[in-house]
């Protein structure tokens, strides 16, 4: 049945893709395009492009889209549920372990090492999106302006994003 198939395929994607975001795309592509032929390559590229212009986790976007295309709204629901379920099981188990043992000195010691690395992780992610995000003097100006607005004037991030989107519409369309 298509619903089971969608659920299981996206369960597999949710279970075996690490890193979130674009890091999940190769596995999604393999399952959707190569293994199941639910989309051809150009349709898959469209899904990625749509994910870039719509909010939310990319894996959820892909699951919803492919599910809908194959089997309507219920297909969407089956695929989305499939991609989320491994997170629920695996991450919940890890969280239970962490909350149980995080007062141990060894765990604390490990996390004093992990925390600075996570800061580096976010910094590296920021670095990684810079070339594709800042490509002109005006986009550099938006970035600097947004930074000042957030830090100096405590502008809400969502408001900042909406203002930048409005500015983009005026400047780039």
């Amino acid at each position: 049945m298509i619903y089971t198939q969608l659920f299981l395929t996206f369960f597999k994607i949710g279970l075996f893709s690490f890193g979130g975001g674009y890091a999940m795309l190769p596995l999604i592509q393999k399952e959707i395009v190569t293994n199941n032929s639910w989309l051809n390559l150009s349709q898959f590229v469209d899904v990625v492009a749509i994910s870039q212009v719509t909010p939310g986790p990319i894996a959820i976007n892909a699951a919803t889209f492919v599910g809908y295309k194959m089997a309507g709204i219920f297909g969407s629901a089956a695929a989305t549920l499939g991609v989320v379920t491994p997170s629920l099981i695996v991450v919940l188990s890890l969280t239970l372990l962490f909350l149980k043992y995080n007062t141990l000195d060894t765990v604390q010691a490990a996390f004093t090492g992990i925390r600075p690395a996570v800061v580096a992780l976010i910094a590296a992610a920021t670095w990684g999106i810079m070339p594709s995000s800042i490509q002109s003097v005006s986009s550099l100006a938006i970035s600097v302006g947004a930074f000042i607005a957030i830090r100096r004037f405590h502008l809400d991030p969502i408001v900042t994003l909406l203002l930048a989107a409005g500015l983009g519409t005026v400047l780039y369309s």
Binding site: G56, N61, L99, T103, I114, A123
Partner: protein, 222 residues
């Protein structure tokens, strides 16, 4: 829970009123707005998550937020969903987890349904593209700002700073996978702290007796 004492909070104080305890309902709405306004997925969601859970509601400290990112990154699945699972459970149990995951997922689900039904060409619409071209540099700014805040509150000594720089080198020029960087950092933490008595922040993590040293700490309770 605790009543926060009145003290000066310099940054992000615009919405600061009083501490509101996390409930499944409130977690749902927090993650709904996070899910509805983050484009690009993955780490692009972190600034909004931090703003909502750390800066605005004071439900988490930066250390707890960073720990959640470490677990989320080391687990399979979308980062935002994983963080919803972790913080939902930590703040409000199993119901909190389900509410947070539902909140993080629903906007994406419904928007994609609408796009798939009515707006299949949306990615080629020039206004949509222009809006996103404007939004992307702002996302860089949001993330850079989050790096600054999180770094300020979690890197507490020169060893932490060195570790952070080392991790950055492994991530950017060396291109090591983030999971291996986290594992290497954990081992480094174990080795560095095995000879010492107490790690830089006390083991009373959950019972939370917080320092007043950072201007974004939840408030002086003990």
């Amino acid at each position: 829970m605790k009543t926060p004492s009145t003290h000066n909070i310099e940054s992000s104080a615009a919405t600061e009123s009083s501490y509101v305890a996390p409930t499944p309902g409130r977690l749902f709405w927090s993650f709904l707005s996070i899910g509805a306004f983050t484009f690009g997925g993955g780490y692009a969601m972190l600034p909004l998550i931090r703003k909502s859970l750390v800066a605005k509601s004071k439900w988490l400290r930066d250390e707890e937020f960073v720990d959640a990112i470490a677990i989320a990154q080391s687990s399979p699945g979308p980062i935002a969903v994983n963080i919803a699972v972790i913080t939902g459970y930590k703040l409000s149990g199993l119901q909190g987890t389900l509410a947070a995951v539902l909140g993080a997922t629903l906007p994406s689900f419904f928007i994609l349904l609408i796009v798939a039904t009515f707006f299949l060409g949306i990615q080629e619409n020039r206004f949509v593209r222009a809006a996103l071209t404007g939004m992307r540099p702002a996302i860089v700014a949001l993330m850079a700002s989050a790096v600054y805040d999180v770094g300020k509150n979690t890197i507490k000594n020169w060893r932490g700073a060195l570790l952070s720089i080392a991790a950055l080198v492994l991530l950017i020029p060396v291109q090591l996978h983030p999971v291996f960087v986290i594992i290497a950092a954990a081992i480094t933490g174990l080795v560095l702290n095995s000879s010492r008595q107490a790690p830089s922040y006390e083991s009373s993590q959950q019972q939370s007796s917080y320092n007043q040293d950072s201007n974004e700490s939840r408030g002086g309770n003990s």
